[in-house]
Amino acid sequence: MFEIFVCMFKEEWRMHSTLFGNLNFALFPILIFGMAFMGAFLIPFTARLMDVSMLVVTTHSMYCIMGFMVGSFGIMGKEMMNRRFGQGSLLIHSARSLPVSERRLFFNFVLKDTLYYFMLWIMPFCLGFTVAAPFAGINIYYPLLLFVTATLAFLLGMSTVFLLSSVYSRSRTALYGILVLIGVAFAALYIVSGDIVRVMRLFMLPSEIFLNFSYPLLLTAAAVILILFIPAVFLFSPETHAGEKRRSAALYPLYDCLSRLPYIRGRVAASPSAASEKGFVYAAAQKELTIISKDFIDLHRSGIGIGQTVFSFVLPVCLIWFVLSVLSDVLMPEQIYMVIAGVTGIIASTMYTWLTEFESFSAYLFLPVKVSSIIRAKIITFSVLHVLPVVFLIVTAVIGGVLSSAIFGIVMALSVSYYALSIMVRYAGLKPSLMLYSAAFFLRYSLLLMPVVIFLLGLSFIATEFSLAALILIIPSYFLLKGSFVKWDAEDLPNF
């Protein structure tokens, strides 16, 4: 029993260190510690600007989302491993080859995830907060309590996704029913109470424990996690039993449709004047259009499009919107809107990871295509996906009563997003998920991006129109991308 646990623990470490490099990955908890340590000093100032309970709910929601993500990877791990590493699998899928029951494997898997991510994400964050507390004038009771409540929030997210996926494996309709029920309950409570923070505290029980600790509440939270988790253990099967899925051919129609856009003509027109060069560019543009068509099919058929839109875009930007909306006492609506636009730009830039995260680049290794062509294709798909942030910013502008600022917000968001994208492409190429755990990459990314965003937000606070200065980011983005194409073409193709 313990051996399985140890092997799974090693497996998780090796998977991450293979993807991100041993040292970079090992430094990641230290980076989290540093950020929490420094962040703790900001809490007294933040408390003057916003309700502390909002901050607490947000922090716990983040840990809940992390639990959700970790659980999802556990369930979809086999598919992801196969797509990224070829014929790979995780130990959780070894019930067919080892004399161990699926339940036992699953139980070990949950234990492993809890301990592993406690050490990776929760402990460094809470330790940073604990060490800083005496210097920041925070009662040591709170960081110590956070160890418990952040862990509970993480487990809440993980057990929820396990249960939802167990339901999904038996009935999609039942899953949609549950999700609609949760949504209706959330909306009803919000309408009745009129206080979003109170509703979120109710749903995010660990944050309520943090704010009003009591043993009955603690026991209730533990019971909720168990209630979600126990049926999942009995219902859950990590093996997929899906049959053959058939689809009518969509690649050619999509390609024909996309080829009506001026992309190929534009690429050729922008190329050097020699006829032979134009021929190469024409061929490359056709290949890129083919990859773009494939990417759209991938997004549609894999469910990544909808899943990522909801969990990686809509949920985070809505959370940020709620958090920022409580700053209305200290900031003008236009200023809040510009902050939302800046943050939306950063979140929108991560859409590049949707297109690369689960892609198996082995499929391109033996085809006559350059890495730069693959990256170009991803950037075009990325650009099309930017309909999402644009729509979101128009909606928030309408609801926030700042429609006249919408264009400035959109310029800010798009400029920030493309600038962040160019940094990701320059330093991570087709592997932007490096950002998740590579301390060196994350630092470089933050140092290149954050000061620029803060400066632009400062300008837009003076006058909303000044946000047009963000257009200057087109220049560094262009040169970063141009350099990236040369750089990644000169290196070995990514082997997964």
């Binding site: 598919e79 196969n82 070829g86 099919i297 058929r301 894999s302 198996s360 085809l367």
Partner: protein
């Protein structure tokens, strides 16, 4: 040219063998390091036009690395090579556009159907009229019923057929094939072996890597034996057959001596 002279030339060619024929693949001192590990060390060989050339070796001997260097999938640490006169060092994309490749692992994109994948590979290769060619391959390899199935739901054998079809879709001058028969059933193996043998009769060349020696002896005209990244032997299968030698005996002898 008088017919008698053509006859004499053809006889001379037959006598002196393929070594003096036009080479389509050349490798000179190919070396590949992965960090501290030297995967391939100073390998040189030449593959004449119109033969099935087999690169034989145990697991981890460097066969796949050589294929990756030849086709520009990884950078060459030292040495050089060329396929149809083009060096993957200077123009890897051109090399891959001239040849068909079946990689070690069958990895078609998960969410394309079989037919879409052939269309995808065809578009990237700039091949016209894919529909008819794809249909021929679906029929030949007996998987027309899987045309509309998503690649992720295909069995390994069917994926291997799909990879085979994409590599030979446009009858390339040279095909580089890594373990071509590994996931196929005996009936399909026979069909593929016959295809490979007939393919070279039309003047095309097949470079295969395998560790299944019976297959190599059956289909290859020329072989090279690789062991721990170094080349131990190159020779013709016909000579072995003439001497009544079995390829697996020769292989084991070479490897045990190394």
């Amino acid at each position: 040219m008088p017919e008698s002279i053509i006859f004499i030339i053809s006889q001379v060619n037959e006598k002196i063998g393929a070594d003096y024929m036009e080479s389509v693949i050349e490798a000179q001192g190919l070396t590949k390091d992965y960090g501290e590990l030297r995967a391939v060390s100073g390998v040189s060989f030449s593959v004449p036009k119109g033969v099935v050339f087999g690169l034989l070796g145990q697991n981890g001997s460097g066969k796949t690395t050589i294929i990756k260097m030849l086709t520009g999938q990884v950078k060459i640490t030292e040495g050089d090579c060329s396929i149809l006169g083009v060096s993957p060092k200077t123009d890897p994309v051109r090399v891959r556009s001239l040849i068909g490749i079946i990689p070690e692992q069958e990895t078609p994109p998960s969410f394309l159907t079989s037919i879409e994948y052939l269309q995808f590979a065809g578009k990237i290769r700039g091949i016209g009229d894919i529909g008819e060619k794809a249909d021929w391959w679906f029929d030949f390899l007996d998987f027309a019923d899987k045309k509309d199935v998503l690649c992720k739901d295909l069995s390994r054998g069917t994926r291997q057929k799909l990879m085979f079809a994409q590599a030979f879709l446009d009858n390339p001058e040279v095909a580089v094939v890594d373990e071509p028969l590994i996931n196929l059933d005996p009936v399909m193996q026979r069909k593929v072996k016959d295809f490979l043998k007939s393919y070279t009769k039309e003047g095309r060349t097949v470079f295969i890597s395998t560790h299944i020696l019976e297959n190599a002896q059956e289909i290859c005209d020329k072989i090279a034996v690789l062991h721990k990244g170094t080349l131990l032997y190159t020779g013709k299968v016909a000579e072995l057959n003439e001497q009544g030698k079995k390829l697996d005996d020769l292989f084991l002898e070479l490897v045990s001596r190394a």
